[in-house]
Amino acid sequence: MKSTSALPPLALLVSGCSGAQSVLNAEGHAAIELKALILGIIFVCAVVWLLVTIALVLALVRRRDRNDGAISERKAAAVVSGAVGATVLVITGLTIASFYTTRALSEAPGPELTIDVTAQQWWWRFTYGGSNSADAFATANELHIPVGKVVRLRLRSSDVIHSFWVPSLAGKQDLIPGRENTLTLRAERPGVYRGQCAEFCGLQHSHMALFVIAEAQADYERWAERQRGPVAEPTEAEAVAGKAAFMAKQCAACHTIRGTRASGTTGPDLTHIASRRTIAAGLLENTRGSLAAWIADPQTLKPGTHMPLVPLTSDELRQLAVYMEGLE
């Protein structure tokens, strides 16, 4: 009933813009190290499991002689001690391996770029260039980084505990209220990497995705330049009407569009929303249709989200979507 209205935009879901979100698809410095360690440990453990299972099967089906009592008891004691010794060796080896990986990961050189990450229910705010410098800008749910550069993320939460996890680039790190954590990334290859909140954070924990876009330094600079720049002024009549609706309706109270009256900080910064691949923290592909669907009824698409259902006429809705689409 309610959900049928949600299906068309859902069916339009992203095809090209979701990078794989997989530990095994390692494209970052840390993730590559981790993948090697993970596969190594899994291999060792698989061998151990195989040996134990073989021993179990043999113990169950072996042919039994009449009187092998006392001798085999002693032999068994020797074998068991040997196996315990082997266990000690294996886990010592794994401990050392894991220790060296930890050390290798924490020996990264100083950061060439620092980005502030603030998590809130249920989206990500990325602030570039410090919070009060003139050319600082904020974006949401989409993190652009230059390939091959060491990027340091300052992780903070403004409500509950979240966890920043982009498996193709690095292991996860929690964002904890009252504390600041850091995570260092270095993408080795350009690409789009999907990530997701990994610590249960309430109703819409499932829909708190982000994309990391690693691109060549020049592309990154171009992107940052445009983000820093002013908002695109609407020219089309529909878009102009959309802007008016945006300012007149409740939208402006929570969202910022730099260069306009809209300066709310509760929701994501929309100055360059059209440059993003998805909306609503990775929920929908960023198209006019899904923008309209999202604005029309966020609570059906993402029940419990803090974006309220604002009653709009269909004209207003279309105009708003057109306006949003023009905010490149």
């Binding site: 859902l10 879901l13 992203v14 794989a20 979100q21 997989s22 530990v23 095994l24 190290e33 981790l34 360690l37 993970i38 440990i41 453990c45 134990v52 299972t53 021993a55 179990l56 043999l58 113990a59 169950l60 039994r64 008891e73 068994a76 004691a77 074998v79 068991v80 196996a83 315990v84 266990t87 886990i91 794994l94 401990t95 894991s98 220790f99 990986t101 930890t102 409500d159 509950v160 505990i161 996890w165 498996p167 292991g171 996860k172 790190q173 929690d174 904890i176 209220p177 504390r179 999907r194 990994a198 249960f200 309430g202 109703l203 819409q204 924990h205 499932s206 995705a209 990775g282 029940p303």
Partner: protein, 637 residues
């Protein structure tokens, strides 16, 4: 005392067997009637209730799991809304951990420990009755709140600040915290009973090196409960204080700390796993020995491994917190200690393998479950080694890999042995045999269904699927595996269905078992099945680890106990030399009233802190009623 001597009470050495049984029954049996049923303190009756209750919660928790699997079978499914889903996974975890796994292991201890150490009732039987009513009240609190749409929705470890005053609106988190208080209260009571029963009520001659391994494992489990549960009681109380009267334990703005919760919770939460696993290890040791037809290989190393596990269990809670940003050096220490616990686990597995190797295995259903246990538990243990590694854990923490890992440990490591134990001790508890044919079916379906359900979750985790998501998007490569898992879960459910059908069938019309159907070695098989209210006609005297194998024809017993009152033998801790003829309390309704008074106080305190004050008065009154002497023969000295 002199008075009693003059009256020369009825002693068991002057009676023939039939006469003795009649008198013992008169002293020990609870007469029929609902009212009397509420007052009984027989450990077997209470344990049976505990077990039935725990399995009811297993079924309820399992149904929740099925609901989650239906929701996750396809991407963006809208069968459950996120609020309901969050309540369901919280209920599933809390029910399985606090209302099924821990209570059922304690229940097995309550049933088996007194029988295996050769005594007539558990120590503090009234406390035992109390503990049952308390856990029942806690379970009902949780499930009634679920029916009221007010079930906790913060996960079974209820991290603050999500569960704290600002973000956990309503009474949901308070209900979770108070449910914890109920279950811990009952667990602590049972732990004390087990410790004292094992220390002081062993049959004469059952020195420490002759204690059955199951009893050892239960003893270590009881000590872990005693050391670990205060942590969770403290955690849940401070949470409710934060929410109700504004203390600031978890508020960073006022000097508190969100991570403090995680430290305190996991200081309990990790040992909790061993509270569940160690009894299972004891069951495995027992079943392996019985069906290998030989004494367990490596009794001493096994005991040492149990104790080492119990101690190490307290040194690795931080491995649940590897991604919260603690200093790396400290994390490396916890990697080492977490890995180290693989050594005692390895010792146990190798000793069981050696026992099977040296013995002549009989492939009865209990042994099948043990074989399934070894295969799956080793996987769970090895993935445990994996997540103990800090760098490994940063990738799989809070993903389906971890979900797979702990289901392998808890279902593979504890539920498989438990099901084996039910098949093994069912004849003792009911006097009837379960079906071998259905047992094989149940084992086959559960083993296959379990592995098909949970093994793919490892892969899902590596493919990046976080846990506790109510849905996922269709473009993510998780759909196929999730559908496969949901279908496999049906197989697992059908296996449990066969098991429960077998239980019901056997309870009604199973073949009579006789006292010792498996030709086992420990004392519980020396009495009839089911055991009479007094457990043993005469208390056995023990001179070996496997008394019934050493002396298959006759049982050495004591003589000289009174039969006109409930009397048993208290013996010394190490050598089990008899020290006194102690009386065991009669049935009493007071524990029931005390449990009701305590429940009113605890539930009231969800709503107002003053409930602790006015609620304490009826609790004190019922406790005085409980302990006030009634002038029965049991009070004589």
């Amino acid at each position: 005392m002199t008075e009693d001597r003059k009256q020369s009470p009825l002693m068991d050495d002057r009676l023939d067997d039939a006469e003795l049984e009649r008198h013992l029954l008169q002293s020990w049996q609870t007469p029929g009637g609902i009212w009397k049923a509420l007052a009984t303190v027989d450990h077997k009756t209470i344990a049976r209730r505990y077990i039935v209750t725990a399995f009811v919660f297993l079924i309820l928790g399992g149904l929740l799991a099925v609901a989650m699997r239906i929701q996750l079978a396809q991407p963006e499914a809208r069968i459950l809304d996120p609020d309901r889903y969050n309540q369901i996974f919280t209920m599933h975890g809390s029910t399985m951990m606090f209302l099924f796994a821990v209570p059922v292991m304690e229940a097995m201890a309550i049933y088996l420990v007194p029988l295996m150490v050769g005594t007539r009732n558990i120590a503090f039987p009234r406390l035992n009755a109390f503990s049952y009513w308390i856990i029942l009240a806690g379970g009902l609190l949780l499930w009634i709140s679920f029916a009221l749409d007010a079930a906790p929705d913060v996960g079974w470890f209820a991290y603050v600040p999500l569960s704290g005053p600002e973000y956990g609106s309503g009474k949901r988190a308070d209900i979770w915290a108070q449910m914890i208080t109920f279950t811990e209260l009952s667990a602590l009571a049972v732990a004390v009973e087990i410790v004292v029963t094992v220390f002081k009520q062993r049959a004469p001659g059952m020195s420490l090196d002759r204690i059955p391994l199951l009893v050892w494992s239960m003893l270590v489990m009881a000590f872990i409960v005693i050391m670990a549960m205060p942590a969770i009681m403290f955690a849940s109380s401070t949470l409710i204080l934060d929410r109700l009267v504004e203390t600031q334990f978890y508020n960073p703005a006022a000097g508190g700390d969100a991570l403090l919760w995680q430290h305190v919770f996991w200081f309990f939460g990790h040992p909790e796993v061993y509270i569940i696993f160690l009894p299972a290890a004891g069951m495995v040791s027992t079943i392996v020995a019985t069906f290998s037809r030989r004494a367990i290989f490596g009794y001493l190393p096994l005991v040492m491994a149990f104790i080492a596990t119990g101690i190490l269990a307290f040194g690795l809670w931080v491995h649940h917190m590897f991604v919260v940003g603690l200093p790396r050096l400290g994390e490396s220490f916890f990697t080492a200690s977490s890995m180290a616990i693989a050594v005692p686990a390895g010792i146990q597995v190798f000793c069981w393998l050696a026992t099977l190797w040296l013995g002549r295995p009989v492939f009865a259903t209990p042994l099948l479950f043990v074989i399934g246990f070894i295969v799956t538990f080793v996987i769970g243990g090895l993935t445990g080694v994996m997540v103990a590694s800090v760098p490994f854990d940063t990738q799989v923490h809070d993903t389906y890999f971890v979900v797979a890992h702990f289901h392998y440990v808890l279902v593979g490591g504890a539920v498989f042995p438990l099901l084996g134990a039910i098949y093994y001790w069912f004849p003792k508890m009911t006097g009837r045999m379960m079906s071998e044919r259905l047992g094989r079916w149940a084992f086959g379906l559960i083993f296959l269904g379990f592995n098909l359900t949970f093994f793919p979750m490892h892969i899902l985790g590596l493919l990046g699927m976080p846990r506790r998501v109510y849905t996922y998007q269709p473009d993510l490569p998780w759909g196929g595996l999730n559908l496969f898992i949901s279908l496999s879960a049906l197989l697992l459910v059908s296996g449990f269905l066969v098991f429960f059908i077998d239980v019901l069938r056997a309870w009604r019309s199973g073949l009579p078992a006789g006292p010792n159907p498996w030709k086992a070695a420990t004392l519980e098989w020396a009495t009839s099945s089911p055991p009479p209210a007094y457990n043993f006609r005469r208390i056995p005297v023990v001179d070996a680890c496997d008394p019934l194998w050493m002396h298959p024809e006759e049982l050495a017993v004591t003589a000289g106990l009174r039969v006109d009152r409930r009397e048993l033998i208290v013996s010394s801790v190490v050598e089990a030399l008899p020290e006194a003829r102690e009386s065991s309390p009669r049935d009493s309704i007071w524990p029931f009233w005390a449990a009701i008074a305590t429940s009113i106080m605890l539930i009231g305190s969800i709503f107002t802190p003053w409930a602790v004050v006015w609620g304490a008065i009826p609790v004190a009154v019922t406790l005085i009623g409980w302990f006030w002497p009634k002038g029965t023969a049991e009070d004589a000295s």
